[in-house]
C-alpha cells in the first residue's frame, strides 16, 4: 500500500514536470501564452521579449575552453531549392492592355489566392538556369522579396504609354527606326496619329542623342547601362541606343503603367515587356530584371 502511494507520487511529479515543458519547434520552448510576458510593446510580432528573474549563473569568460562537439560542421549556408518546371494555369477573362507590346494577346490567370487577374502575352516561369549565373558578384537572382508596386512619378513631362497629345512639344526631336519616325521628348516616344500623337513603348534599337534628365546609370557585370522610366539604354558611337532590359539589372523605380502579376506564387511587376522581381537590398526596395521562359 505504501509502495503504491509512493509510485503515485512519482507519477504526479513526472506529469507535473512534463506539462510545463511542452516541446515546440526544433529547440525546446515553453508554450507560448499570448506571446511572452513582462513588458509587451503594443503590436509586437511576438508580444515582446521576456526573461525570468532567476536565471542560472553566467560566466564572464569570453571564450570557453572546450571545442565544439561537431567536427564535420558544414561550412556553408543552406542551399536553395531547385524548383521544378511548373505549368502556369490558364484561366482568365480580363481584356488586354492595348498599349502594351504584344497587344494583350493571350490572357492568363496565374494561380494565387486572391483572384488577382493578370494579363501577359504568354505562359511563363522564371528561368531557373540563371541560378548558375553571377550578377555583380551575386550568384543567381537576388532572393525574391515582395514589396508593393508603387509607380514612380517621373515628372510632368513624362507620360505613360498610350498618352495622347494634340500638339507636339517644341523640345521634341524626330528619330527614326526602319523608316518609322518617332517624336522623342524627355524619355517619351510618340507616333503621329489622327489629330495628334500617342506615346508608345520605346522602340528597341532606336538611338537618341541625349538621355533624359533624371536618368540612372546601372552597372551590371562591369558594363554600364542607363535606365529611365522602365527603359534601358547603352552608349553607342552616335548616342544612346534603346536595348532590351538586361537580365539581372537592378533598378529602384518603375513608372506608372506596370502590372503586378503573380507567377508561381511570387509577384512581379510587368512593364515594357519586362519582368521586374521585387527584392530588398541594403534596406532599399529594389527590382531586378528577370528572364522568363515560356512553358
Amino acid at each position: 500500500m505504501k509502495t503504491y502511494k509512493l509510485n503515485h507520487i512519482i507519477l504526479i511529479l513526472v506529469f507535473a514536470f512534463l506539462s510545463g515543458e511542452i516541446l515546440a519547434q526544433r529547440m525546446q520552448h515553453a508554450p507560448a501564452r499570448g506571446g511572452g510576458g513582462g513588458a509587451r510593446p503594443s503590436g509586437s510580432i511576438n508580444g515582446g521579449a521576456s526573461r525570468t528573474a532567476s536565471r542560472p549563473q553566467t560566466s564572464q569568460a569570453s571564450k570557453p575552453s572546450y571545442t565544439p562537439k561537431t567536427q564535420n560542421r558544414a561550412n556553408t549556408t543552406a542551399s536553395r531549392p531547385q524548383v521544378s518546371n511548373r505549368k502556369t494555369e490558364i484561366n482568365n477573362n480580363r481584356t488586354g492592355n492595348e498599349n502594351k507590346i504584344g497587344g494583350g494577346g493571350n490572357k492568363i490567370n496565374i494561380d494565387n489566392s486572391k483572384n488577382v487577374n493578370v494579363n501577359v502575352n504568354r505562359n511563363v516561369r522564371v528561368n531557373n538556369y540563371h541560378s548558375n549565373r553571377y550578377y555583380n558578384g551575386h550568384r543567381g537572382y537576388y532572393p525574391y522579396h515582395y514589396h508593393p508596386y508603387r509607380p514612380y512619378y517621373y515628372g510632368p513631362v513624362w507620360h505613360p504609354f498610350g498618352f495622347f497629345v494634340a500638339t507636339m512639344f517644341t523640345t521634341a526631336v524626330i528619330v527614326s527606326l526602319n523608316n518609322q519616325p518617332y517624336y522623342y521628348n524627355q524619355g517619351v516616344y510618340y507616333v503621329e496619329v489622327n489629330n495628334g500623337y500617342n506615346s508608345v513603348p520605346p522602340p528597341v534599337n532606336i538611338t537618341i542623342n541625349n538621355l533624359p534628365d533624371g536618368v540612372e546609370s546601372v552597372t551590371l557585370n562591369d558594363l554600364t547601362y542607363y535606365y529611365y522610366a522602365g527603359t534601358f539604354y547603352e552608349k553607342v558611337s552616335d548616342g544612346f541606343k534603346v536595348i532590351v532590359a538586361p537580365d539581372g539589372a537592378m533598378v529602384l523605380n518603375i513608372p506608372d503603367g506596370g502590372e503586378e502579376l503573380e507567377i508561381d506564387g511570387n509577384k512581379y511587376v510587368f512593364y515594357n515587356d519586362t519582368y521586374f522581381q521585387p527584392l530588398a537590398k541594403d534596406g532599399k526596395d529594389l527590382y531586378q530584371v528577370v528572364s522568363m521562359e515560356e512553358n
Binding site: 514536470f17 510576458g37 510580432i45 511576438n46 526573461r51 524548383v83 489566392s113
Partner: protein, 241 residues
Amino acid sequence: MKQKLPTIVVLITVVALMSCGENKSGFYDQSAIQALDKLSETIGNLSSASFTINTEIVTNDGATDTIVKQSDVYLSGSNQMYVYFSRADVRKGYWYKDAKLSVLDFDHDQYDEVPAPATIMETIDSIHNRYNIDFPAADFLYPTLTDDLMAQFDTIAVLGSKVIDDVSCKEINATNANLDVYMLIDEATNLPKQLEIYHLGERNGETFIATYSNWRTNPNLPDELFEFSPPASSTKTSIFK
C-alpha cells in the same frame, strides 16, 4: 531493503527534476546570454517584419536524405502572418489572420482552413503540437528564447565572429547531450542570420541549417497580404490532419 526502494526512486527523480529546473547549472557565457537577450529584444520590438529562410535538413531515417526548402515569412502585429513555402515539389502558402489559419497547396489547387488562437506565437505553438508542423524561424520568435535555451542546454558560449553571406555575425554555440547548436547573429542588426543544429547521440548525423536573408524590419505590409480567399478552381480538403 525492499521498502526503501521507492523512497530512493523518489529522491532520484526529485533531484533529476531539480537539475533540469531553475537551479540548473552549466557554463553560460555572459556575452552569449547578452547577445541572445539583445536578439530577443530586437525581435520583440518589431511591429512587423519580413524575411526569407533557406533551410537544408539532413534526415537519417535508414538512408540519409537531404531536404532543401525556402520560406518567405511576413509578420504584422501579433496576429497576422503569411508564409510562402517552397521546395522542389511542394509549394504552399499559410495565411493567418482573424484567428483563422489557412493553407493553400498551389500544386494540387487544394486548401484548408482551421480556427487558430489569437496570436501568432500561440498559433505556431498550437499548429506544431496538433499537426507537427514546424514554422520557419519559430525558434527565434519565442519571446523567452534565452530562458528556453538556458533551460535546455548545458553550455552556451560565444565562439567568435564569422562572416555569412558578407554579413559579420556573432557565433554562439549551445550544447547538451543530444544537440550541438550554432546561432549566428548579425552583429549590425542583432537579427538572426543562421541557425545550425547538429544532432548527437541516437540521431547523430541529422542536421538542420537555416539561413536568414532579406530581413525587413517594420515594413508597411498591406493587410491584403494576410487575407486568404480560396481560388475559384480550388477544392477544400483536409490538409491539416
